[in-house]
Symmetry: C2
Subunit: 315 residues, 2 copies
């Protein structure tokens, strides 16, 4: 039995522990892990637990594929702001005539990927990005619309820190409507989300934060984001001495409205906000605090993570 | 209430029905769908139902990320056989100096993807492909090893047929060991898998099939695969008049053993086999047969799809 001291577990130790205890297995590429069914059972239980607090219409609860249209990545401004984190998908568009060159290069261990052609799909950058295109060139009611969405997102940032996976799950509550509505949604979900996470035995902090915008221009964007307090992160101890973000509340102002041409019925651009739970990071934070033996987790936590089966039973 | 006649529902009608009933929503790219929580509840219930028949060690039950190492795609021979279906992931590897060119092309709607660099990750080709690298240059016991795995796979084949998604889930039972063991595993799972699916009210056929190998050389490979009966497909009516494969049993002979240098403890190459359930296609086949109203599904089917919660409850 390991001792889960909050101050003593380095990134390396926690990573080894997760692998030894069989939660994660290495894939051969940093930041990509194989996950055990036991690890996944925590993620699934978290999903249901979080969904229990859902305040949106049944019709607006969506799971997204891990891939999305390239146009969404471009229009959302993500390529401009985070070009180093994106994942554009290429495939072979040649025929029988072009094939031998590809096969020769593969066999000779030469670069064969330059013979590929970019497709119209990319890896999902953020779950909520899938929503905005569905409202492009439309008006949303000023009373606001709320979505509950989940998706597997990708960030190209190879790291040995298990809390920095290249492929990870986000569970989000997204608001489209007025500026006041967006700020109220974020405020409400920061409170509700923090309460949900605290009830699981996590010790949290709430901090003003910024996204990792790329390069020199990015530093200006990050500064503006901080100054306007557009991004709040809910942090918890995961592995290192520095706590990590396990959830965040984001106010987008009218950026996505301008990108996708979404306006309010009463006139003016839509404003939007989201509160995103990082399911994999919350799972790691729970293992860090409560240990690798799920049966030894506090009774209150295990009960909260055992919601009713979502499928409609006949009796 | 729609009439779900097996012979009358065209691909187009079934697709419209799925969207109108709120199971799927269009993403803007053919073959990529947003899924409702109700659709996902069927997929999740299927997972648990199938796992209930698992015959492998707890430690060998793994969920894979939708991305995997590029080396796995190459070594498994998938690039050679299906170059048109692969998804290689590129990102921006430049710095501040290269950024303006990227931003200019994005803004001018010119091809910006050619400025990207292939990463060492690709989209997952088949769930079981993640297993073989973990045994590279090793020996497996002749008594055999069984894995239960799940993963989101990608095939670049845009189609309007909802049964041909570009991103879809596979749930597999994989055997590594002797030739006799591999054939017995496939035989056993064709029986067990078919019984599981029949109990859900699906009418099945078992047919000898071949993979969609690429190009001229591919036709020879496909012919050999058919002749040796290496692939069996379990088919059911999904949407068109032609039934589609909802599961398959595959005998790989020693191909993956040779690709990844895996041998038997008693000497000679390993042989492998897998039985793969297509979770999204099974979900579509169930909706096609039982209708869009889950509460109206046969009692026996709803009971089978309401397994106990997998998380360890305290009481």
């Amino acid at each position: 039995m390991e001792l889960y001291g909050l101050d003593t577990m380095s990134i390396e130790d926690f990573r080894s522990d997760l692998i030894r205890a069989g939660f994660l297995a290495e894939s051969g590429v940093a930041g990509i892990y194989h996950r055990s069914f036991r690890y996944e059972s925590i993620v699934r239980a978290l999903e249901s637990y979080i969904s229990g607090a859902s305040n949106c219409d049944e019709a607006r609860r969506l799971y997204f594929a891990p891939v999305m249209p390239q146009s969404t990545l471009v229009t959302s401004g993500y390529v401009r702001s985070f070009p180093d984190l994106i994942g554009v998908i290429s495939s072979f568009a040649g025929g029988n005539r072009e094939l031998p060159e590809l096969l020769d290069r593969v066999a000779a261990d030469k670069d064969w990927t330059e013979l590929l052609t970019a497709t119209d799909v990319v890896l999902c950058s953020a779950a909520c990005h899938n929503i905005y295109p569905t409202f492009a060139h439309q008006k949303v009611p000023s009373s606001g619309i709320i979505y509950e969405v989940q998706g597997t997102c990708f960030r190209h940032e190879p790291s040995e820190d298990p809390a920095r996976m290249q492929s990870f799950r986000m569970h989000e509550f997204v608001y489209l409507g007025t500026a006041e509505g967006a700020l109220a949604h974020r405020q409400e979900w920061i409170g509700r989300g923090s309460a949900l996470l605290q009830a699981l035995g996590l010790t949290l902090d709430l901090v003003v934060a910024n996204d990792p915008f790329f390069g020199r221009v990015g530093r200006v964007l990050a500064h503006g984001q901080l100054e306007k307090e557009l991004k709040y992160e809910v942090t918890a101890q995961i592995s290192s001495d520095n706590p990590g973000a396990i959830a965040s509340g984001n106010y987008h102002e009218d950026h996505l409205a301008i990108d996708f041409d979404i306006s309010l019925e009463e006139g003016g651009p839509m404003h939007s906000a989201c509160f995103a739970f990082g399911l994999d990071r919350i799972t790691l934070a729970l293992i860090h605090v409560h240990g690798t033996d799920l049966t030894a987790w506090p009774t209150s936590v295990r009960d909260l993570l055992s919601p009713p089966n979502p499928f409609v039973k006949s009796q």
